[in-house]
């Protein structure tokens, strides 16, 4: 339980990470790139896969992120840097958390429920955060088949209703649409940062770096297939279809006979998402624990503090999701590439050999 196996890591990259990109991102991309929405997604995936490749190469050094930083910059600087990185991870939690809340309010309830119905999620989040990040390896073992089950189920029910010709003509959105799409997708791509916090929790195996990147891209192929199906179904109206994966399967003819059987798959993905969207926060707490030691009470204290803060922020930002998204994926979009792409690459430049401790 203290270590993550390579299989569990691949499960995360191929099956868990894609789930977070099926909710709001397809709509966001349809909004910015219209029928060219596959290209920004593909570009983001390729860049992120490269970053993951770099992170997995770092695993060869058998040090966690804090040790890597400390090895080069010394204890104090490493503590400052890792605290900044942890702050970024808490920041990265914001959009998935808010979109999750909107998703829950709209998909799990027939009428707009009160805010309190999402409150139990914070109890759940606190519990998840209080557990060591490495214990997630086993969770991924359970969630990966669930994710595949949910994803394939939805895809099978949806694909018949899609008109893939809607993705034509290629390039109608132009370079501008592509860039806008890529920019707006940045805040959904933080998987390399999470992989960075997992350093030291798994052993590097032969070819792990390219295998990891390939598994991540395999997940990306799934997301691209879904995206194509999504746009094929909704076409010009895709830009107002929020919570994409819960929308596409309702046109399956069996739904009229058996009722909304697709909810079975939606619930499976919602369960995976419940774990995934708190993962950055948990990774942030893990970073802090790497830097500031691991007294027994500290994970609980951090988990309560972090979830408490997120709860207050989400209450404050209630009904302002579009504004938050505009700021995070618009004006502040550059923050994500710094921490999820540049940081893993820069980390490769850190000192390789362990410094002798005085």
């Amino acid at each position: 339980m203290k270590r993550i196996s390579s299989r569990q890591l691949y499960f995360f990259l191929a099956c868990i990470a894609p789930v977070g990109k099926l909710l709001f991102l397809p709509t966001q991309l349809a909004n910015s790139a219209r029928n060219d929405l596959l290209f920004p997604m593909l570009a983001s995936y390729l860049v992120q896969a490269g970053a993951i490749f770099c992170v997995l190469l770092l695993a060869k050094r058998k040090m966690n992120l804090y040790e890597l930083l400390e090895n080069t910059f010394g204890g104090i600087a490493a503590k400052i840097l890792i605290s900044i990185f942890a702050l970024f991870l808490f920041y990265a939690t914001l959009v998935p958390l808010l979109e999750q809340r909107l998703f829950v309010q709209n998909v799990f309830y027939d009428t707009l429920p009160s805010l309190i119905v999402f409150a139990p999620y914070y109890i759940f989040a606190a519990y998840v955060i209080s557990k060591p990040l490495s214990s997630h390896g086993r969770v991924w073992d359970i969630l990966a088949p669930l994710s595949v089950f949910g994803f394939l189920g939805i895809l099978v029910l949806s694909v018949g209703s899609a008109d893939f010709g809607a993705l034509l003509p290629i390039g109608a959105g132009g370079i501008r649409g592509f860039l806008r799409g890529t920019m707006s997708a940045t805040n959904w791509f933080f998987d390399a940062s999470i992989a960075l916090t997992l350093l030291g929790k798994f052993d590097y195996g032969k070819g792990m770096a390219w295998k990891g990147a390939l598994f991540y891209l395999a997940g990306g192929v799934g997301v691209l297939t879904f995206l194509a199906t999504f746009y094929g179904i909704f076409q010009e109206t895709a830009l107002h279809q929020l919570f994409a994966f819960s929308q596409t399967s309702q046109y399956f003819s069996g739904v009229t006979v058996l009722g909304r059987i697709d909810y079975l798959f939606i619930f499976a993905l919602a369960l995976v998402m419940a774990f995934y969207c708190i993962l950055p926060a948990q990774a942030g707490v893990d970073c802090l624990l790497q830097a500031y030691g691991k007294p027994r009470y500290l994970p609980t204290v951090f988990s309560v503090l972090v979830t408490g803060t997120l709860f207050i922020i989400s209450l404050t930002l209630d009904y302002r999701f579009s504004e938050v998204l505009e700021v995070i994926s618009g004006t502040m979009f550059w923050i994500f590439p710094i921490f999820t792409v540049m940081l893993p690459i820069l980390c490769l430049l850190l000192r390789r050999k362990r410094r002798e401790k005085a």
Binding site: M1, P113, P120, V128, R138, L258, G259, Y263
Partner: protein, 477 residues
Amino acid sequence: MKNITGELIKTKDALKKLLPSEDILTFDFISEKGMQFCVVFADPITDKELLGEQVVRALLDYDGKPTAAEVGAKLTSPEMKTETALDILALEILSGNPVLLFAGMDAAIIVGTKKVFTRAIAEPSTDVAVKGPREGFIEDVKTNTSLVRRRFKTGELKIEFLEVGRRSKTAVALCYLEGTSTEQVVKEVRKKINDIDIDIIPDSSYLTHFLSSRPYSLVKQVGTTEKPDIFCAKLAEGRVGLIVDGSPIALTVPYLLVEDFQSSEDYFVPTYRATFTRVLRLFALLVAIYLPAFYVAAQLFKLQLFPVKLLLTISGAIRDLPFTPSLEMLLVLLVLEILNEASIRMPKYVGMALSVVGALVLGETAVSAGFVSTPAIIIIAFSGIGLYAVPNLIEQTSVVRLAMLLVAGSVGTYGIILATGFMILYLVTTDNFGAPLVAPFSPVVGRDLRDSIVKYNLGSLQKRPKSLKSPNKRRLK
């Protein structure tokens, strides 16, 4: 610690002083040659007939020296030992073994003529198999270990007798196959058993508390079985077993959750049938836990979960009910649990009447009177049946079902999803004796998946479960 003296009267008095209870009797007799003997024994638990046959009759013509060795040689009992410490002699008397004293003795003789109260070996009521062995454990530890020994004609089977309970001194047989069970697990179990400081152990369930890594957990962490064949199969897989005197339920560790979805019969029927029944058990369990919860959550928060025609049927059925859907379901569930509890405890002749009253009269009248709706009764009935598909997990799953219902009634379907998330995280982070509770699903152990919910052909199960970390990996050559 006081020792005996050569004087018969003094020793007898000392023992009487230690054991002043009225059921501790003494029997004095003199041999034909005039040598004085005295037997001290606990009346209800000593086989007096055997005592007379093997001790008194054998010594009536004794004319040897008053030494334990010579007197012992004259006795016809196959089980005896000598002892000088009064405390130990007192303990043996309390265990049913009479103590023979004689004038001028150097040590007292303990004779193994304990009276054993046992019932016949019968088929266990909680673990019935249509095909396969019908034997079940009984309350006597010796009989139970003999049932195990009969199945392993090898010196590798080790049975260690430990003693637990300050007052009960209950015998606990620690069984394992040397070289197959992990040594570390054996040591850990032995240590945990030896560390128990409790006055009495009335049943093996007491031990589970001390063996669990999370003793307050709702989740079961020690395997249980009433069948020697299952017990032996588990030992052969590399587990360690415990048989407790006075309990027909044997324990095995490490425990994997998947064990309870397997039945002994699965190994005696074709593999496709075994797989089908295991999947069915899992499905039944999921239905039992989730069906009432989803039914309530759908009515309160997400009507879309029902097909429209079913919704209208339900809507018609619950019209004018005095309770909310969640309270209605809670009420029916509680009635079911009460009926269940009552039917187990009640005498059998009343049980039949109770089931008629419960199922027919109460159910039918409650619906007619408008207290509850027919769909709610159907849902709970279905859930109740599903629960019994995995009988070894009933205690846990019935509580989980209630918890799910409460969550569903409070926060709806998303609450159910989150509760499931809690459960998953809790289960996957539970290890017991080095084995992950949810193995072979988390962590995934490909080899062990062949005998999990899916059951492969016996020929494919060449190796022992990897999750149990047995040093002897291969079982089929």
